[in-house]
């Protein structure tokens, strides 16, 4: 709890520092407004309820179906934004937040690719199962972190009563 309070206090800025408020580039502002509430300011929030992006999302780009999965996720495909802005946002998420998890030589998403993929949203599948199967492959064959398994874990089973 103490840690949480510190994190909260740090995220805000005292009034005196207003003149030095951080200027947010477009893809970062777009990430914060479209994704950051749930995924966290830097790609981590509650890891069992919302998938971590920081140092993890890049692993999915090892697989062709993982590369398209990231765009075809309903909240990505149906986001209220243009193909161009969504492409910038996705490249920010993968290459900046994803950090070292991105495979060497991965090419950025193009507007054309994103425009085509988001028109085929993943609406008729079990997203959890699809992700679980990809995560298994990524951990077994691509040396991905086992932290990918945190999302979807039953946190309630490990909780102490209030």
């Amino acid at each position: 709890m103490a840690l949480g309070i510190t994190a909260c206090a740090l995220a805000g800025l005292p009034a005196a520092a207003r003149a030095e408020v951080q200027q947010l580039p477009a893809p970062r502002a777009s990430y914060l407004l479209s994704c950051g509430g749930c995924h966290g300011l830097d790609g981590v929030s509650n890891s069992s309820l919302v998938p971590d992006l920081k140092d993890q999302v890049g692993y999915f780009l090892n697989l062709p179906e993982g590369r398209s999965y990231v765009v075809r996720l309903p909240n990505v495909a149906f986001s209220i934004t243009t193909d161009e802005a969504l492409t910038g946002l996705l490249n920010y998420v993968v290459f900046t937040l994803g950090g070292a998890s991105v495979p060497a030589g991965t090419r950025p998403y193009t507007v054309r690719e994103v425009a085509q993929l988001r028109r085929r949203p993943l609406t008729e599948v079990s997203l959890l199962q699809l992700r679980r199967e990809m995560v298994r492959t990524l951990i077994d064959q691509y040396n991905a972190t086992t932290q990918l398994r945190r999302y979807g874990e039953d946190d309630y089973a490990n909780q102490s009563p209030p």
Partner: protein, 178 residues
């Protein structure tokens, strides 16, 4: 000189009329120019360009007192202000825990007219703060209906915490929109 110019422009206009169809490129360009202001733009872009008319909240916003509902960072706040409960507009009162999952929007600072990114975090794990009526706010700038729940302020954002009990609401400044 004038007549030469007149002749030239007349010839250009006549040629344009003769060789362009009504369904051609020019008419499409004209339609696109007409439609441009109607096409949806990101709220950030509109706010940043100063094209957006001010909301009721923005017309009455102030930057001096964060224990009042019209403090500018509360433009999308719905709940009791943590600044009335022993916390601040960006920090939780002692014993309450900030929600890691929240919603994020933008508010306009009346002092410089610019848009800023604000994270609306709830403070959780304690019973609701019993502050006076003036500390209970119901603002809704750039909030979306419940079917777009990621940007909705009727949700108790404590569901990602160890205790989902709602105590109060904060509005943390994250940065300025370039």
């Amino acid at each position: 000189m004038t007549s030469h110019f007149d002749e030239l422009s007349e010839r250009l206009t006549r040629n344009l009329a003769r060789f362009s169809s009504r369904r051609g490129f020019l008419s499409k360009l004209g339609a696109a120019l007409l439609a441009a202001p109607v096409l949806p733009l990101l709220p950030v872009a509109r706010a940043a360009n100063g094209e957006q008319p001010k909301t009721d909240f923005e017309r009455n916003a102030q930057a001096a007192d964060d224990t009042k509902c019209n403090y500018w960072k509360y433009c999308g706040s719905d709940g009791v202000l943590c600044s009335c409960c022993g916390g601040g507009h960006h920090s939780c009162p002692a014993g309450a825990e900030p929600s890691p999952i929240s919603w994020i929007g933008t508010c306009m600072n009346p002092e410089d007219g610019k848009s800023y990114v604000i994270a609306y975090r709830d403070c959780c794990g304690k019973p609701a703060c019993s502050a006076g009526k003036s500390c209970w706010c119901d603002n809704s700038d750039r909030e979306l209906p419940t079917y777009r729940s990621a940007l909705n302020n009727d949700i108790i954002w404590c569901f990602g915490n160890s205790s989902a009990m709602y105590h109060c609401s904060t509005a943390a400044l994250i940065g300025a929109v370039k």
